[in-house]
């Protein structure tokens, strides 16, 4: 399957500093949960609101469209990884783009990842301050999350995989509480379909993709996953279908609960919906939902922290990982604190970071793939002479 010449070429590359990294093996189930836990995070709570704003009741169509696009991008990612065995993203950058451009883009990647990490911190503290702990200073909440992330990372990638798989058990609670919401569904709220035309739906696709970001993690852990390329591709598609299913559940339950007009009044529709329910044993299901959701957020944050620290480590060609992780954690912490709490600033910052998401998660890996193919063609062309 793989081009033997290509392999030989890559074997010469210095990658000793990552030998320990490649010693780990991840099962496909763990791979599945690593991706799912990274993708599902902060977005859950405000996704229906964002979709409703641009796409009205057709938001769920946008979401499916977004997922299809992400699946296409991930297929291209897979092509790239398939053709560069035993290489993760940062190695590819150097091997394909050349040393200095590679190093520069690695740095940019690291900065992008940590910028996302900071955004996650900001959004999470905003929700907590709004719903649970009104007076708790932001830095305390952030410090806890950063500490949890660092503690998770301090093991090997295997620990990360195991922990994510374990935490995924908690998602059952999220799913059950959302399914409970379907009881009061009014299907009428998602009709009429498509009357607004195609434009709002396409705008909604943008929002949808933003909530699906995080799939770039595949580019780093792909070489560690056990199994053939085909099996791994299957797993990648399974993750996307799972995430799509979960988000559709979120969107459906809230859309059909509130209706188009109401949802624009509640920026956190999921929480408002759960708040309305009463049980004889406990009330305020939303508080429990947030508690479980914090775990999902932590895993997303940890992944970004991990990726950015890993990039920095690779740039400096260092053997040790933790110093860079700690450095990046501090960067995220300070960045999140300086952006502060102004709604507008947060939104602006979020917009900018998400735009870069298209560049780093979508375009750049595809460019890498193109360059690789062009070179390969040249190579085989000259070889046949």
């Amino acid at each position: 399957m793989e081009n033997p010449k290509n392999q030989g070429k890559q074997k010469g590359q210095p990658n000793q500093n990552d030998a320990a990294f490649f010693n780990n093996k991840i099962s496909r189930l763990q791979f599945f949960f690593l991706i799912v836990q990274t993708q599902i995070g902060v977005g859950v709570i405000s996704l229906p609101y964002n979709l409703q704003q641009v796409a009205k009741q057709d938001g769920w169509i946008s979401l499916i469209g977004a997922s299809l696009i992400v699946q296409l991008i991930m297929f291209l990612h897979w092509l790239l990884m398939k053709n560069t065995p035993k290489q993760h993203l940062f190695m590819n950058l150097e091997n394909i783009l050349g040393r200095w451009i590679g190093k520069a883009s690695t740095l940019l990647y690291s900065l992008y990842f940590i910028a996302v990490g900071a955004l996650i911190l900001i959004l999470y503290t905003r929700i907590i301050n709004l719903w649970m702990l009104i007076n708790t200073p932001k830095w305390v909440l952030m410090a806890f999350m950063v500490a949890a992330g660092l503690y998770l990372i301090s093991g090997t990638i295997k620990v990360l995989a195991r922990a994510y798989t374990l935490f995924s058990g908690l998602m059952i609670i999220l799913i059950v509480s959302l399914v409970y919401g379907i009881r009061d569904a009014h299907l009428i709220f998602i009709f009429p379909m498509g009357v607004e035309g195609l434009e709002p739906i396409l705008k909604g696709v943008n929002e949808g993709i933003l909530s699906l970001l995080g799939f770039a993690f595949v580019l780093i852990i792909y070489p560690l996953v056990e199994g053939t390329n085909k099996e791994k591709l299957k797993t990648i598609f399974y993750t996307q279908w799972f995430v799509l299913g979960f988000y559709l559940l979120v969107v459906f339950s809230t859309f059909t609960f509130f209706g188009a007009k109401e949802i624009l009044l509640v920026p956190q529709p999921v929480l408002y919906m759960l708040k309305a329910y009463e049980f004889s044993v406990v009330e305020r299901l939303d508080l429990f939902f947030i508690s479980v959701w914090v775990v999902s957020v932590t895993t997303s944050f940890t992944t970004y922290l991990y990726m950015s620290g890993k990039g920095l480590k690779h740039m400096f060609n260092s053997k040790r990982e933790m110093p860079f992780m700690i450095m990046m954690a501090i960067v995220a912490f300070i960045l999140a604190l300086t952006i502060g709490s102004g709604e507008q600033r947060i939104d602006q910052y979020g917009d900018v970071v998400m735009k870069f998401g298209y560049l780093f998660s979508g375009s750049l890996p595809v460019i890498l793939l193109l360059v690789l193919f062009v070179r390969k063609k040249k190579h085989t062309g000259s070889g046949s002479k």
Partner: protein, 521 residues
């Protein structure tokens, strides 16, 4: 860890020396031919201890040395003097039950083991006889691991009797016992027991390596060994299961684990251990599987109650009062309104009081201990509520927590649970639910990271091994547990074949018969 890969199947990797290599490097001193020189050397080496007895025989031509505190006078008589008196042998050195040595250092060692040493003038070879005295108690049921059904035997302080208890239950040639001597001064005899052909040889190798690298002067009990050989001594969680029950040891040895026994202690360590092993009790297997499963689920729920209940209560009272349903609001409110202290202080006082009562109850003789329990539990509990120091709800919560922590069948883990309540209480009183979530997340991450002899501690939940879940949260019928748990990476995974064929084949035969016309009416 290296040995988790099973590439070296059952090769002769571990065919090393059976233990006493540490002794090889010890100094040796060839014996002298003169009797007085020999005796002088030995008494000097033993610092002229008063309990070393020297009996001069044959008019000063020979001597018998022994520790009167270690040797049994009757055995001395039966093994040495009775055969001589019967006239069959003319000299003690020619007795068939004597062992010979010509090394004075070795002679020292056997003397300290309770043997009697016979030295003759003009003869370099020293003869020693086993006359060791032992004081044993009965193999009665251990107090801290009682079961309702099943064996009521327990280990004792003598390692030989303990190994005997194991061998009696496991009559198979693959049961392997290896001796080690650890503790430079105490020279403690320890042994490991495992099933060759089931246990992973790499695991055995790793355990031997760790045992041999212990250089401490004093090794008194397996508890000492535990701290020297476990993976992460900083962790609050015990990483080796300790038990005093032979049946529990057998069950674990048969699933590919290694048992570590030590002279002078009835406690046996099981290596490696997983978190869920601490929640398995022999009772689960002795009773029917449905009730065994039920009890085990109750036990695992007690884990959540033990570490989370006080924290949850404090978080709800302090931060999220809105979680309480309407009907409960007024009783809860009236209970906590009159209390002067914040719930955090309340909980802290109560938890400490419970710990005090428990510790006092253990240390005192039993009748007094019970009194303390009643005085502490009932009188203090009641008075503290009446005095308005602590709300009655808090007393309920803390008492429930304490009870839940005692449900664990392992004393170590129970202590760990009660200890872990404190950080969670602190977190809950500062950040409410969010604090609890982060606290539990930290505990879970720690559990996931932890390894016991290279095997994941939180298995089979993380890493997820669905096959092994058969005997984790539930206990399926024994004939369904066809594979050994993967905790210790056994090289022989299958533990049974088809055992209930008669049911299936009987059925099919019946159906065939009913189809045919030969059925008599």
């Amino acid at each position: 860890m290296g040995y988790r890969r099973r590439k070296s199947r059952r090769d002769k990797l571990i065919e090393e020396q059976p233990g006493n290599e540490a002794d090889v490097k010890e100094p040796s001193q060839p014996s002298f031919s003169q009797l007085s020189q020999n005796i002088e050397y030995l008494t000097k080496a033993l610092k002229h201890s008063n309990d070393l007895k020297i009996r001069i025989l044959q008019d000063g031509q020979a001597a018998l040395l022994f520790f009167e505190t270690l040797s049994d006078q009757e055995k001395l008589q039966a093994n040495i003097f009775t055969p001589i008196e019967s006239g069959n042998f003319d000299s003690i050195s020619k007795l068939p039950n004597g062992k010979k040595t010509d090394d004075l250092e070795e002679a020292l060692k056997v003397l300290l083991r309770g043997h009697a040493l016979y030295i003759e003038e003009g003869n370099k070879s020293l003869v020693y006889f086993t006359v060791t005295t032992t004081y044993n108690r009965n193999v009665k049921e251990p107090d801290n691991e009682k079961v309702v059904r099943g064996s009521h035997e327990g280990f004792v302080e003598n390692i030989m009797i303990n190994i005997n208890l194991i061998r009696k239950r496991l009559e198979h040639r693959d049961l392997t016992i290896k001796y080690f001597r650890v503790g430079k001064k105490t020279n403690t005899n320890i042994a490991i027991a495992y099933m060759d052909g089931i246990t992973n040889p790499e695991l055995v190798k790793e355990i031997k390596k760790r045992i041999k690298s212990v250089t401490a002067d004093t090794i008194l009990s397996p508890g000492f060994m535990e701290e020297f050989i476990e993976d992460n001594p900083m962790s609050p969680f015990p990483q080796t299961l300790s038990t005093e029950r032979p049946d529990r040891v057998i069950a674990n040895v048969m699933s590919g684990k290694v048992a570590l026994l030590a002279e002078g202690s009835p406690t046996v360590l099981i290596l490696p251990s997983t978190f869920f092993m601490f929640y398995q009790s022999p009772d689960d297997y002795n009773s029917r599987w449905v009730s065994g499963t039920f009890i085990r689920i109750i036990r695992l729920m007690s884990f959540l109650i033990a570490i989370g209940l006080p924290a949850m209560y404090i978080a709800i009272i302090g931060f999220h009062f809105e979680v309480i349903p309407d009907d409960l609001v007024s009783p809860v409110k009236s209970a906590i309104e009159q209390i002067a202290y914040p719930p955090f202080v309340e909980a802290f006082i109560m938890v400490i009081i419970i710990e005090l009562i428990r510790e006092a109850g253990i240390r005192l003789p039993q009748p007094v201990g019970q009194t303390i329990g009643i005085v502490g539990g009932l009188v203090i509990g009641d008075a503290v509520i009446r005095a308005g120091l602590i709300s009655n709800l808090m007393v309920i919560v803390v008492a429930l927590t304490a009870i839940a922590s005692f449900v664990v069948p392992s004393h170590e883990l129970s202590t760990t649970l009660r200890f872990l309540t404190f950080p969670l209480i602190i977190l809950a009183s500062t950040l409410g639910f969010i604090g609890i979530v982060f606290g539990i997340m930290f505990i879970l991450i720690h559990l996931v990271k932890l390894e016991s002899f290279g095997n994941p501690y939180f298995a089979p939940v993380s890493p997820l091994r669905i096959k092994d879940l058969k005997d984790t949260f539930v206990r399926l019928p024994l004939f369904k547990l066809t594979n050994r748990p993967n905790d210790a990476n056994p090289i022989n995974e299958k533990s049974m074949g088809e055992s209930r064929e008669w049911k299936r084949s009987g059925k099919s035969k019946k159906s065939r018969q009913t189809k045919g016309t030969t059925q008599p009416k």
